[in-house]
């Protein structure tokens, strides 16, 4: 049922192929030579052709998925930030870009960075090392009494879980 819906919606946006091309992909059904093929048969043929096209283009230069045809809406919908959902308790990978004594400034791909305390034994966390974080909030804001807009701290909040697995004993030179 879901496949049928997808096929029907695909029909609305794609250009209809010629009936000659559709008939050539039919193997079992020997329908009449004239007359347009309609209904599920036409949709099935069209999807076959599209699948073959994507396979051939994937073998060639990959311009279809990351080319300039993607709209802002499509880019946004497929971006990891949107796919992640609510930021509360999401585990992400960040990169330390600045160290000030015991404070690590970590950038995880959001609008702001987060600042975490360096844990006791982890002296290998240098600028450039990747860490795992559990996000609490993407931007620390609060509305105070008497204010018309929120006050923002221009920072995110996250809990440091530790260095990325497999890099605990490696140091970046």
């Amino acid at each position: 049922m879901a496949a049928l819906c997808r096929v029907v919606s695909g029909l609305r946006y794609r250009v209809r192929l010629s009936s000659r091309f559709l008939r050539s992909s039919f193997s079992s059904d020997s329908g009449p030579a004239e007359g347009p093929v309609s209904g599920f048969a036409a949709a099935f043929d069209q999807q076959e052709v599209l699948r073959r096209e994507t396979q051939s283009s994937a073998a060639g230069p990959k311009a279809s998925s990351s080319g300039p045809e993607l709209s802002f809406a499509a880019l946004l919908r497929r971006s990891p930030l949107i796919q992640m959902g609510p930021a509360k308790d999401a585990v992400v990978v960040g990169r330390v870009f600045r160290v000030v004594r015991d404070d690590l400034y970590i950038d995880f791909g959001g609008k702001f960075h987060c600042v975490c305390q360096r844990p006791a034994g982890a002296d290998g966390l240098q600028p450039g090392s990747r860490v795992r974080l559990r996000l609490q909030d993407m931007e620390l804001t609060a509305r105070f009494l008497g204010a018309s807009t929120d006050t923002t701290l221009l920072e995110a909040q996250a809990v440091l879980l530790g260095p990325l697995d497999g890099r605990e004993h490696q140091s970046r030179d």
Binding site: S66, P68, L70, S71, F72, L75, L76, S79, L81, I82, G85, P86, A87, G109, G110, K111, F112, M138, E139, T141, R143, T149, D150, T151, T152, L154
Partner: protein
Amino acid sequence: MAVRALTRGLLGFRYSRAATVASPCGGHHYVTAPSVKPPQPQADDVTEKILNQPLEKPDFFRVAELFSLKDLFDARVHLGHKKGCRHRLMEPYLYGCRLDHDIIDLDQTMEHLQLALNFTAHIAYRGGIILFVSRRRQFGHLVETTAMDCGEYAHTRYWQGGLLTNANIQYGPGVRLPDLIIFLSTLNNVFQQHVGIRDAAKMNIPTVGVVDSNCNPSLVTYPVPGNDDTPAAVELYCRLFKMTINRAKDRRKQMELLHGLSAPTS
């Protein structure tokens, strides 16, 4: 006739690198002899041609090639603040709000950025002074090096009250004010609008400003809705402005060489 010679002389003084000074007195002498032409007609005509040629095409400097939607997206330009920080006047520029976070519409940002870069290029082509302003301490050094790399000016420190409006008294008479002010962030450190925006509007100086979802875009001449907090985004803006200004200045040198105004320097 005298007025025309006078305006030509002023234009020549302001814009031409070869410093042609067409004296207004010359026009007066020739008023009674219409067959004799005013002095230095060729330099003025060529300068006017150089100045008017970029105005014929909508994107003479091809600034739209410098960036793409994907570049803006990867630099996180579309990320805005939270819903509670939103400024009412930024609502037309927002694509939507996702889990309380505002998303800026990058299609609109593309258009506005193209307009802003085009305007900057024209100003730089005509030899205008450009001032980069940002009160974000995180990006102060970046803005200053950007300005230095394109041969323009930057002001990333405390903005004194009468800097533009009281310039003649604070800096001496006859100070030349900037012809364009580019704000990499329109807010100061206490989240109020930067004083420079209001002062530039008072002094008739056009402004280009990156407005985030908590900024007021009304007084900015060429607002560019976009993120002004992430280092990646600000680096992108600085790179784009630097490339535009350098491109425009190189084009101007090329045009002058082409029309034989300045001697080619190897």
